[in-house]
């Protein structure tokens, strides 16, 4: 298994209240899996994604990525593990505003173990692949939303991670760009990668192999009957 969430739970404790964001959620993703987690706002989708990404330790349950529990690692080792094993894509793109497209794509290389030449070749390949070559010297502020998200995707894939975690990646995109981004995610899964997509956008469902519904922090799994190669 590439990703295993075993009965993970998370409760946010405020000054006077406690919010049970996720309760006993279990998800397993193997190589080539593309799973969409759907649910209404506040149902705990993003919390699941952060726990799966080694960014938010669950109160209970286990997270295993490629058989490794990231929370069992020291902080710097966990950061390094994350850099090598996981790629992130966010709704707000979270590109570094003062780095151009090429530099943003290269930025995960700071934490990786590959040689600078290899990292640069990989970045140029991804920029070409995501049709950003003509924009590689531009700052994020000079890009369209679709270009920004494609840049974010290229950055997420720089270190050739096993697992790609996407949090509402199409939330700020038009139809055309949504299809393009979802197509890239599907392509990544088909090439042997694993995608966990958190979204409330129904347009993502046909691209995913499986959809997990999350309601009040709990899951109901089912295969996506509409999933087919033609959907991508």
């Amino acid at each position: 298994m590439v990703l295993q969430l075993e009965q993970v739970s998370k409760t946010y404790v405020g000054h006077s209240t406690a919010v049970h964001a996720v309760s006993d959620v279990s998800i397993e993703l193997g190589a080539g899996d593309f799973v969409a987690v759907q649910g209404p706002s506040g149902c705990g989708k993003s919390t699941v994604l952060l726990m799966a990404g080694g960014l938010l330790q669950p109160d209970s349950g286990n997270v295993l990525i490629g058989g490794t529990n990231p929370y069992g690692l020291p902080p710097d080792a966990r950061a390094s593990f994350r850099s090598i094993s996981i790629g992130f894509v966010f709704q707000q793109f979270h590109l570094v505003p003062y780095l151009n497209v090429l530099e943003n794509v290269l930025s995960p290389g700071l934490a990786g173990t590959n040689s600078p030449e290899h990292v640069r070749q990989r970045a140029e390949h991804l920029i070409e692949h995501f049709r950003l070559a003509h924009r590689q010297d531009h700052l994020p502020g000079e890009l369209s939303s679709g270009e920004r998200q494609r840049t974010a995707l290229a950055r997420a894939l720089l270190n050739s991670p096993q697992l790609l975690l996407a949090d509402e990646p199409t939330g700020n995109l038009d139809r055309e760009n949504t299809d393009a981004v979802l197509g890239y995610l599907k392509e990544f899964a088909e090439s042997g990668g694993t995608v966990l997509l958190v979204t409330h956008d129904d347009r993502a469902v046909p691209f995913a192999k499986r959809t997990v519904h999350l309601r009040d922090g709990r899951t109901t799994n089912h295969m996506n009957p509409g999933f087919s190669a033609a959907s991508g």
Binding site: L50, L55, R82, V96, P97, Y98, L99, L106
Partner: protein
């Protein structure tokens, strides 16, 4: 892509934040370097001013010395001419008096009647102004076992056909004694002491300064007392005629005039003219020395005043710097810290993303500290330059100023210039450390959940 490139890009992106940090460091460093430069310039200028002042005083004293010497020569010349105008002093002696006895023994054995002086005074003589009858004898002073010349004098006898003139010499009063230099030195006498002479007590009324003549071994007493002690009642040895109106070859006229009135006498010139001249010169020399001493004292006082003024100024500058510099440094630390904190807050999302894509806390701290190091080094260099220029120009405003060579040769300043950029680096690093630490510890999940 390197961490350093990331830092440079961020600096270019947030120029204002960077410039503010740079200015804060530059202000702190400039205040330290400027204060030290100013204080060093103060010391150099003080040294220069005092050297100049000392040279001026030395020159002034030398000029005054030369002027006083020149004035002394001119005064001597004037006195010499005046002395010519004053005329001669002559001694009227019995014709039988041997001059050899006077010069060799300081004594006179020949006598003439005391009434000679009254005769001369009542005559129509015109060439003589003052008359002093005297007895002069070389005796052995039993009480002190030494030889002395004793002179008895009754003071001036007024010439009757003229008005009373101010006497040139005072009479020695009865019971008083005037003592020559060698005698009072050897006997350790003071004015007011009592000495015995031939069984009679005399009070010392005056002690003569050294004259380099027989006067140094002479004592003067009242004429009547001398005549009594020496058994010379109504007899005198000589009449001293002072201020004779007989310059140049008129000495022959006075001889003729006196011999006509006092037959059996001889007239000889006395040395008093040279003595008076020497005394006048000594007096002139003494006055000149006093003037020189006053000039030197005045110069020393000016120098002391200058030193005090400079010392006060240096203390004022040091006090001002001692107050201002720590305040500026404190303000700079606070500003840099605040800027770093604002910067880390502005970058919280970016930091969260960098953490999410795998950068370690150490790498994030390195990003912040590299930026603060850049601010520290550049701000330090700018501060050193500004401080040097401001300190030197402020120091120069008070005088001709100090050259850069002099400033750098002064010891402390080059060391300070080498140290202050390091100080700036530490200052900037310290101020940025806590914000950098907080940024590195930031939980990426919290940031990413805010979207």
């Amino acid at each position: 892509m390197s961490v350093w490139r990331l830092v440079i890009r961020e600096i270019r992106h947030r120029r204002l934040n960077f410039l503010m940090g740079l200015l804060s460091v530059a202000a702190a460093v400039a205040s330290v370097v400027g204060a030290q430069t100013l204080l060093t310039a103060d010391r150099i200028i003080t040294s220069q001013l005092l050297s100049t002042k000392e040279a001026e005083v030395e020159k002034s004293v030398a000029e005054k010395q030369a002027a006083v010497q020149q004035a002394g020569k001119e005064l001597q010349d004037v006195i010499r001419k005046q002395m010519l105008g004053l005329g001669f002093n002559v001694l009227i002696l019995p014709e039988s008096q041997s001059l050899s006895e006077i010069h060799l023994d300081g004594s006179m054995s020949a006598t003439m009647p005391e009434e000679y002086v009254d005769r001369l005074a009542s005559s129509k003589i015109v060439t003589v102004n003052h008359l002093l009858p005297s007895v002069t004898k070389r005796i052995h002073w039993e009480e002190h076992n030494r030889d002395v010349v004793i002179v008895g004098t009754r003071g001036e006898v007024p010439i009757q056909h003229r008005g009373m003139k101010k006497p040139l010499l005072d009479e020695v009063a009865a019971g008083k004694i005037v003592v020559g230099h060698e005698i009072h030195q050897q006997m350790n006498l003071m004015e007011g002491d009592t000495v015995q002479l031939r069984g009679r007590d005399f009070t010392v009324s005056k002690l003569h300064a050294e004259r380099g003549s027989v006067d140094d071994v002479t004592v003067w007493i009242n004429l009547a007392e001398a005549q009594e002690l020496l058994g010379m009642q109504n007899l005198i040895n000589a009449i001293l005629a002072l201020e004779c109106d007989c310059s140049g070859d008129r000495i022959s006229q006075i001889r003729a005039e006196i011999s006509a009135i006092l037959p059996g006498t001889q007239v000889v010139e006395r040395y008093s003219q040279a003595l008076t001249r020497a005394e006048s010169r000594a007096k002139a020399k003494s006055s000149a020395q006093q003037a020189l001493k006053a000039a030197e004292q005045s110069g020393a006082e000016q120098l002391a005043l200058e030193r005090k003024t400079r010392r006060d100024l240096e203390h004022r500058h040091a006090g001002f710097a001692g107050l201002l510099v720590p305040l500026i440094i404190l303000g700079s630390i606070m500003t840099i810290g605040l800027l770093a904190l604002v910067n880390s807050r502005q970058r919280s999302q970016e930091i969260g993303v960098l953490r999410a894509i795998g950068l370690s806390a150490r790498q994030l701290m390195l990003i912040f500290l590299l930026k603060s190091a850049t601010i520290g080094i550049l701000g330090g260099l700018a501060g050193v330059s500004i401080g040097l220029m401001v300190g030197q120009s402020l120091g120069s405003a008070e005088s001709d100023g100090s050259t850069w060579n002099e400033l750098f040769a002064s010891g402390d300043l080059p060391v300070l210039i080498l140290i202050t950029p390091l100080f700036a680096l530490v200052l900037s690093g310290l101020a940025s450390w806590i914000p950098a630490f907080l940024a590195a510890r930031q939980d990426p999940a919290v940031v990413l959940q805010k979207e």
